[in-house]
């Protein structure tokens, strides 16, 4: 591989002319042709570039924050498919569906191809010169903005992009880097911090013999689903661990549980304390908690807990018995337990079980300390958005830069983000594709896709040691009029601080310098160029580091009276939004593969639906496909009913992520957006939006439509042996041959 920078970056540019045209003809070209197509023709390719042979390049997946290492298969200059990068411990050579769809971000037909400026209400394509001129007129060297007058709104972001953003804001003496995550795990992180001393402990799922999970969807939407799925696979091998899931609406993880319990929303903490109470009956655990907590726990006898949670009383002692039997165990809290007014308390109560069971250091560990804290991700929250919203509303914010966040779509109605946004005089969106928020901006700058740009990423969840993930282009840019975020930021910074950045002709040079500077940390003795080439080849820089210890603060757990959430006569149903592992908060709704990928539990595609328990549905005489109006205090949406047994009968659930109005052909008009019916409920402790605390009423509209799903007329096996199930004590897993354990 050539070490010359220019060659390295241009290795794809010199490729041939046609490429894709040939394949699309498909069955069309059915006979021998002569002279109709062009041959792949090269000027000066790398030696290993052979037409007809795919070459794999390592990079990093940016579809979610997990930071999985990926390999892209490149042939004739086109990126064809992504695979997991075995060099990366996070992905372990595996990849999820969301990651696979990364290529569709790149090839999306609705991608932005040129900068656009809003003129007289409509976007007009302009040249980069004009766009940059507009940008620098406001934010360049002559800019007078400072402090709170400027803000940058992003989603979760890490690596050198984050660093550059920070520097950019610094140059305005501002620290307004607002990181917004509509599905922020901030409540749980706060609880972790309070009880265990760290925001995100490392879960050793494979080491646990019993996992008790309160709505934690670690297989679907957790902090690192691919890694945890691999751990889960080992967890299921001999000696086989048992998974018990307790949640109001079945998640993907719940669907894989050995035992699944439906619980009344918001009472997870009560149930956890009930188990704690039951566990404390054992001598072994008697001194695990402070005396006053032990005293308070006496209110949590199993009948009371059963009444509050709606789970049979025997289950409590049964689970407690299993926890006692199967050690080490792991107790997890998840979004459905945390997204309540008392969500922090719920999470803390659940974490208390880990302390009682002494799982610290066994199945729960602290993350290794990161040598480059400036690169670690800024974790998002909803409070940050609320703050920005206030500032915008007050007219403080003069310039707003948005990237990777779409609050116009995800902010609830009581956060009037869209209308406040209009008060900001200069709004710039950096995006690969227009979304609802970008549609409201004044200037839209088209970014390179993750398949075209360099970058560095640090995952928020580092399972073991530390990984610095490298992202490199897998393909020559599709549209010449697109640029990388890093390059734009550098340009701006060069305006603000010419001296500091003159050494870097572009972002590539910047990160290459920055990464090679870290060489000593990785104890590499090779030359700078070789170190960089190795990093690119492996796609990841790994540093083995011991896990940090966890603290134990049992006393921070508040044990009040066991109470159910009071019922609301006007809105009798709990509303549990479900987060789809592929669409997440809706940012991936523009990817056709994910739209067509059936939701694992309902198999619905391209749509929104309302999950309702069959018994409730029978009472209300609702059939599948009846269009229901789901009304909360703040708004209402309409969607088709889907009868779903994995849901608490007082609860209805809708998936998030659909209902886009300005996000391209694959997203627009598909389903509805339940973000818009959330009640203004906040976690008492953190002030975060409580996503699971909304109450709704269901009304039949009398309309009916066919639910678009893969499932046929039945969802039972009808006496056929399709999925056979064996009891765990019968199966001799230890004797089996398995790829996972080898």
């Amino acid at each position: 591989m050539s070490s010359s920078n220019i060659d390295r970056r241009d290795f794809l540019r010199v490729l041939g002319i046609s490429g894709a045209a040939a394949t699309l003809a498909g069955c069309g070209n059915t006979s021998i042709e002569s002279g109709a197509e062009l041959v792949e023709s090269y000027v000066q390719p790398e030696d290993f570039v052979v037409p007809g042979v795919g070459v794999y390049y390592a990079s990093t997946c940016t579809q979610c924050g997990s930071g999985c290492g990926i390999m892209g298969r490149v042939r004739e200059g086109r990126i064809l498919k992504l695979e997991g990068n075995p060099q990366s411990l996070i992905s372990g050579g595996k990849i999820c569906g969301l990651g696979q769809a990364g290529v569709q971000v790149h090839y999306n037909p609705d991608r932005l191809t040129t900068p656009m400026i809003r003129e007289a209400g409509a976007f007009k394509p302009v040249s980069w010169d004009k766009a940059m001129a507009t940008l620098t007129a406001r934010l360049g060297s002559s800019s007078t903005l400072s402090g709170d007058q400027i803000a940058v709104l992003t989603g979760e972001i890490s690596g050198h992009q984050k660093v550059l953003l920070g520097h950019f804001l610094e140059s305005f003496k501002s620290a307004n880097h607002i990181v917004y995550d509509a599905l922020s795990p901030a409540i749980g992180q706060a609880a972790n911090k309070a009880v265990l001393g760290v925001e995100q402990p490392v879960l050793q799922i494979d080491k646990a013999r019993l996992i008790l999970s309160f709505g934690n969807d670690f297989l679907g939407t957790g902090p690192s689903p691919v890694h945890m799925a691999a751990q889960y696979a080992r967890f299921r091998k001999a000696p086989r661990g048992t998974l018990i899931q307790i949640e109001p609406r079945m998640t993907l993880t719940g669907a894989n549980a050995d035992r699944w319990y439906a619980i009344k929303p918001g009472t997870e903490g009560v149930f956890a304390l009930g188990i704690a109470h039951s566990l404390l009956q054992h001598q072994e655990y008697a001194h695990a908690v402070p005396a006053e907590i032990a005293e308070a726990l006496k209110q949590y006898d199993k009948d009371t807990v059963s009444e509050v949670t709606g789970i049979h009383a025997d289950a409590i002692s049964h689970i407690a018995g299993m926890l006692w039997e199967k050690s080490p165990s792991l107790v997890l809290s998840g979004p459905s337990a945390e997204g309540h007014v008392h969500g922090f308390n719920n999470a803390a109560a659940i974490l208390l079980l880990n302390l009682v069971l002494e799982n610290r250091g066994k199945t729960l560990q602290g993350q290794a300390s990161h040598p480059f804290p400036q690169l670690t991700p800024a974790s998002g929250s909803t409070t940050a958005l609320a703050k920005l919203n206030q500032a915008m509303s007050a007219g403080q914010c003069q310039a707003l830069l948005v990237m990777g966040a779409n609050p116009v779509f995800t902010a609830p109605t009581f956060v009037p983000f869209a209308s406040n946004l209009a008060k900001v005089p200069f709004k710039v969106a950096f995006a690969t594709q227009l979304d609802e928020t970008a549609h409201q901006c004044d200037l839209v700058l088209p970014l390179l896709s993750p398949m075209e740009d360099f970058g560095t990423h640090v995952a928020g969840y580092q399972p073991s040691g530390v990984e610095l993930a490298i992202q490199q282009p897998l393909m020559e840019r599709l549209y010449p009029e697109t640029r990388g975020l890093g390059d734009i930021l550098l340009d701006l910074l060069k305006q603000r601080q010419p001296e500091a950045y003159k050494a870097f002709p572009d972002y590539y040079a910047y990160i290459k310098t920055a990464v090679t500077k870290a060489k000593p940390v990785f104890k590499s003795k090779s030359s700078d160029d070789d170190f960089w080439e190795d990093a690119l080849r492996n796609g990841v820089l790994r540093l083995e580091a011991p896990p940090a210890a966890l603290e134990a603060h049992a006393a921070t757990v508040k044990v009040g009276k066991p109470q159910a959430l009071e019922t609301d006569v006007n809105f009798p149903f709990f509303f549990v939004p479900s987060v789809r592992a592929d669409l997440r908060d809706g940012r991936h709704a523009n990817l056709p593969w994910l739209q067509e990928s059936p939701d694992p539990l309902t198999t619905v595609v391209w749509d929104s639906w309302v999950e309702i328990h069959p018994t409730t549905a029978a009472q209300m005489q609702i059939r599948e496909g009846d269009i229901l109006e789901v009304q909360s205090a703040t708004g209402s949406v309409r969607a088709k009913a889907y009868l779903f047994p994995g849901i608490q009968p007082d609860t209805v659930s809708m998936p998030l992520g659909q209902g886009h109005t300005g996000y391209g052909r694959y997203a627009d008009g598909m389903g509805v957006n339940p973000f818009k019916i959330f009640d203004p409920m906040y976690d008492e402790r953190t002030g975060e939006l409580a996503l699971y605390a909304t109450r709704v009423i269901i009304k039949k509209t009398g309309e009916h439509a066919r639910v678009v799903k893969d499932e046929g007329a039945t969802n039972l096996q009808q006496g056929r042996k399709l999925v056979a199930t064996m009891a765990a004590d019968q199966a001799e897993l230890a004797k089996e041959i398995s790829r996972v354990t080898q």
Binding site: I17, A36, L38, V39, Y42, V50
Partner: protein
């Protein structure tokens, strides 16, 4: 009566033979090494290329091995067009022809760093995968046949052409007729085998 019976038998067996003869598909490939029209009107159209490349000079007069330029043939499914720097590697040094219009064109492309838009001459349908590597490995390396014969079986006597022109049918029956033949496993033995008779070997 006896004679008649015999007649009928002869007549019937003739008919049976006719039946099986029609059972044989009628297209046959030419012999290996046959390098011109195989008698099935398979001559393709003349394809105009951006540069009228003289195969007759390179492969004919100079006697350059096909795979010196079509270097991917032995390691990829496609034989490929030589990369531009390969052409330049020689032609930079060959002063004598530098002024010829074709070479001037070549230099133009090189200076623009633009690949030459060669057109495909032997373009199989898109649902077919023909693997050059396997054929070259088998016949050139293992069976040790002359390269012009190995390539020429499908491409004809390119050494006598300027720009290449299709001279063989390249139809399915044409391919199969050769797969059906007994080919030596390698130069050292008399053991023979056929080409694959599996649809998926060629159909994708």
């Amino acid at each position: 009566m006896k004679v008649r019976m015999k007649n009928i038998l002869v007549w019937l067996s003739l008919l049976v033979l006719c039946g099986t003869a029609t059972g044989e598909p009628f297209v046959q490939g030419g012999a290996i090494g046959s390098q011109t029209d195989d008698g099935y009107n398979a001559l393709g159209p003349v394809v105009e290329q951006p540069i009228e490349f003289p195969h007759n000079t390179h492969a004919g007069q100079m006697g350059i091995n096909c795979m010196y330029c079509h270097t991917y043939a032995r390691r990829s499914a496609v034989s490929g067009i030589p990369r531009l720097d390969k052409c330049m590697g020689c032609h930079k040094l060959i002063e004598s022809v530098k002024d010829k219009p074709r070479i001037k064109k070549l230099f133009e492309y090189w200076e623009k760093k633009e690949p030459i838009p060669w057109k495909k001459v032997h373009d199989l349908p898109d649902f077919v995968r023909f693997n050059h590597e396997r054929h070259i490995q088998r016949f050139y390396f293992r069976e040790d046949r002359p390269v012009r014969e190995v390539c020429g079986y499908c491409h004809g006597d390119v050494a006598s052409m300027t720009t290449a022109r299709r001279v063989k049918a390249l139809s399915m029956g044409w391919c199969v007729s050769c797969h059906q033949k007994d080919h030596l496993e390698n130069a050292a033995t008399t053991k023979t085998s056929n080409g694959p008779n599996d649809c998926w070997q060629c159909h994708k």
